[in-house]
């Protein structure tokens, strides 16, 4: 027993040493390997594939532009549809290969939560391109970053917009996917409504399984509850299914519908006018800010030429994440006398990083959480496109909707009241 103890202590020491030797290896590699995690099959691929396309596309652009510090990017894509076990195994395999230096992971909040401790164990900088759940960074991490904002500002924004747009709302129904993202969003949305308008009643709360193909009974249940407002953060194939099934059954005419991820289906299903939609952040390629950015417009047009569809916000989020990765490398090289940075140095550089993306600005706080603005609006007919676009927009400043670092978000929300709404910009103010 004592021998074993001694072995363990020795092994612990040995295991710690290679990290130090690795840190001094500063030669430029031939390629910069990046593991990219997204859904490329199944219902969730409707959201995941535009993300993958965005990655491929921005990598092409970055590489054509000389890569990062002269090193071209090389991505390995991992399909998250294989489930957490497979995703974690693939992550371990990729991170175990030294030629992969950064992980862009993941799409699903569930996978993000599962991967974060693995990333920390393996000391590989991991940038959550779509890890919105606020639970992600409740622990202290050195290698896990989320540059895209989280569920707190995202769903605070919807509550604020809804109450500005429809101040007399009293009966609210919720239908969200049955996992962290859906439950988080419901909790935040409910907490915000309770703070801003305590008399709102939640008349139905449904959590269909992620990837459920039929929502017919849920739709009956929602109709029976007679809500003024139906809030949903369904996404991907589920959202398309829900819209296709709910629209003929009249849900969109009897209730004000809020689809938090509605922008992703604007080009795929015929959403009626007046639906409250947004992009969970600032990633709307047609926002006034984006329209003024020539680079973004070139990106969007070239993207459409290649994939037959305009980018959706997952595309923009993914592309922005790569720009952030590039900025981190450049910052790390600058700090490192232009020598190629180690994984640890890249992680270090991500802390406090500030950069311009295709759709706005991002700042990474000291808790590794990114601050981005939140755009919310309402669907309107477009003069230029054959699909509805977002009108009557508001752009909330990211910081204004986030609790201060270290504060429990729900405590923060419950401390707010109606007067908080008055400090925010109004619908239609972002033109």
């Amino acid at each position: 027993m004592r021998l074993l103890k001694r072995y363990l202590a020795a092994a612990a020491l040995i295991a710690a040493t290679p990290a130090i030797t690795l840190a001094q290896d500063a030669k430029r590699p031939e390629t910069l390997g990046v593991g990219v995690f997204t859904f490329t099959s199944g219902p969730a691929a409707a959201y995941g594939l535009p993300g993958r396309n965005g990655a491929e596309f921005i990598i092409e652009m970055i590489n054509a532009d000389g890569g990062i510090g002269g090193v071209p990017l090389r991505a390995t894509f991992v399909d998250e549809a294989q489930g957490a076990e497979g995703v974690i195994s693939e992550f371990r395999r990729l991170a175990g290969d030294a030629s992969n230096q950064v992980m862009i992971a993941a799409l699903s909040s569930a996978n993000c939560l599962a991967l974060a401790p693995v990333a920390e164990q393996m000391q590989v900088p991991t940038i959550g391109w779509n890890c919105d759940t606020h639970q992600l960074l409740q622990e202290d991490y050195d290698y896990v970053f989320r540059p895209n904002g989280n569920t707190i500002p995202e769903f605070m924004a919807y509550a604020a917009y809804l109450l500005d747009k429809k101040p007399d709302v009293s009966r609210v129904a919720i239908i969200n996917p049955d996992y962290a993202f859906g439950h988080d969003a419901a909790e935040i949305f409910k907490a915000a409504l309770k703070a801003f308008k305590p008399d709102v009643e939640i008349v139905a709360e449904l959590y269909p399984r992620l990837g459920a193909s039929s929502f017919q009974t849920e739709i009956s249940r929602l109709s029976a509850a007679r809500p003024d407002v139906i809030f949903s953060n369904l996404w991907g194939g589920d959202l398309e299914n829900f819209v296709r099934q709910a629209q003929p059954r009249g849900l969109f005419t009897t209730s004000q519908v809020v689809l938090a991820l509605g922008e992703t289906v604007l080009q795929r299903v015929a959403l009626p006018e007046g639906v409250i939609v947004g992009v969970l952040g600032d990633g709307w390629w047609m926002s006034p800010t984006s329209m003024a950015n020539e680079k973004t417009q070139t990106f969007a047009e070239a993207y459409r030429k290649k994939y037959g569809e305009y980018p959706v916000f997952p595309t923009m989020k993914m592309a922005n994440t790569f720009l952030i990765t590039k900025a981190a490398y450049e910052k790390a090289m600058k700090a490192n006398g232009d020598a190629w940075p180690t994984r640890a140095q890249v992680a270090e550089a991500l802390k406090g990083l500030q950069t311009t993306t295709l759709t706005g600005e991002v700042t990474i706080r000291e808790d590794n959480d990114g601050i981005v603005d939140q755009i919310v609006g309402t669907t309107v007919k477009s003069a230029k496109h054959d699909f509805p676009v977002i009108g009557d927009m508001v752009r909330y400043e990211g910081k204004s909707l986030m609790p201060p670092v270290g504060q429990d978000p729900f405590k923060w929300i419950s401390g707010l009241d109606k007067s908080f709404l008055e400090t925010l910009p109004k619908p239609g103010s972002y033109k």
């Binding site: 490329t40 099959s41 199944g42 219902p43 691929a45 409707a46 594939l49 549809a81 709360e205 449904l206 959590y207 269909p208 399984r209 990837g211 193909s213 039929s214 017919q216 009974t217 849920e218 009956s220 249940r221 109709s223 029976a224 194939g237 398309e240 299914n241 296709r244 099934q245 003929p248 059954r249 009249g250």
Partner: protein
């Protein structure tokens, strides 16, 4: 009170109709061939993919959208014609008289093969084809808007039960089928071509599974994983009704459909558990299902 019960019933029946076709196919195959086909759900999803693909092709080629209705039936028939005899003659037939373990494993192998074949043929993205639903319009019942297509499915399910009953009781082939179900050896000695009966029954089972898949497409998307999900639900329904009991499957489908609806209305957290909970409770009390008969242990 009554008013709120009506939608519950309609939803329950609509739910039941969706699972009835595939479950009755499973139970029919079991009653004649005495095998539990684990790959049965794959025929459901292949039927769904076929129907969605053919429907999309009809719409994009500019044919009358009303052609999508016969296309639903046609795609199920195609799947049955393609897979029924082929699978029965090559794989399933080989397992007759072998232990249940072998039968389950062979059909599980088939399930795995068909899962990947579907991905190769139909891709991994979701397909949507809702023309038949859109053409039929809506009806308001008890203050809730329903799709006429949902009501049509309930009717179709009823037609299929009656049809199967007529087929088995009143046609020559059906009587052969019933004879084989009752006693395989005696039917053989009486000169019934059991091989033909087996092919027929298996193809009919595949047809019913594929039909279930095809009929589901207008109101729901088709994506990978559909087969794996459907087959356990079909097992549950078939087991509750009693394996091999056609009317039993119909009643079990209604019970499971209602259980799911009740869960969604009153205890949403239990919606996915409901069918299996019903199955467990029923099997705890009646291990051979509600209408199944106790078979003696083999010596």
């Amino acid at each position: 009170m009554l008013q709120s019960l009506v939608p519950l019933l309609v939803d329950g029946l609509a739910n039941a109709a969706l699972i009835f076709f595939v479950a009755v196919g499973l139970t029919l195959v079991f009653s004649v061939l005495r095998i539990l086909n684990v790959a049965h759900g794959s025929f459901y999803s292949i039927g769904a993919y076929a129907a969605a693909s053919i429907g999309l092709w009809i719409v994009s080629s500019g044919f009358s959208p009303y052609l999508t209705f016969p296309a639903l039936l046609l795609s199920a028939a195609l799947v049955a014609a393609l897979f029924g005899p082929l699978v029965e003659r090559t794989l399933v037939r080989w397992t007759y008289g072998k232990s249940e373990a072998v039968q389950i494993l062979v059909t599980f192998g088939l399930f795995l093969i068909l899962e990947d074949l579907q991905r190769m043929v139909f891709g991994v993205q979701s397909l949507y084809e809702d023309t038949p639903m859109a053409l039929l319009g809506i009806t308001e019942i008890g203050g809730i808007v329903y799709l006429n297509y949902q009501l049509l499915l309930i009717g179709l399910a009823a037609v299929v039960i009656i049809g199967l009953r007529l087929l088995i009781r009143h046609t020559r082939h059906g009587k052969f089928l019933a004879a084989v179900v009752a006693d395989r050896e005696v039917s053989q000695t009486l000169g019934i071509d059991t091989n033909r009966v087996f092919i027929m029954a298996f193809a009919l089972g595949v047809f019913l599974a594929a039909l279930g898949g095809a009929l589901a497409t207008p109101t729901s998307g088709v994506a990978p994983g559909l087969g794996a999900e459907t087959v356990v639900l079909a097992f549950a329904v078939a087991a509750i009704g009693g394996l091999g009991q056609i009317e039993g499957a119909a009643i079990a489908a209604v019970i499971v459909g209602l259980a799911r609806v009740l869960a969604i209305y009153y205890a949403p957290a239990l919606d996915a558990v409901a069918p299996y909970l019903v199955m467990l409770v029923v099997l705890l009390i009646r291990p051979y299902g509600l209408f199944g008969s106790v078979t003696t242990r083999r010596i």
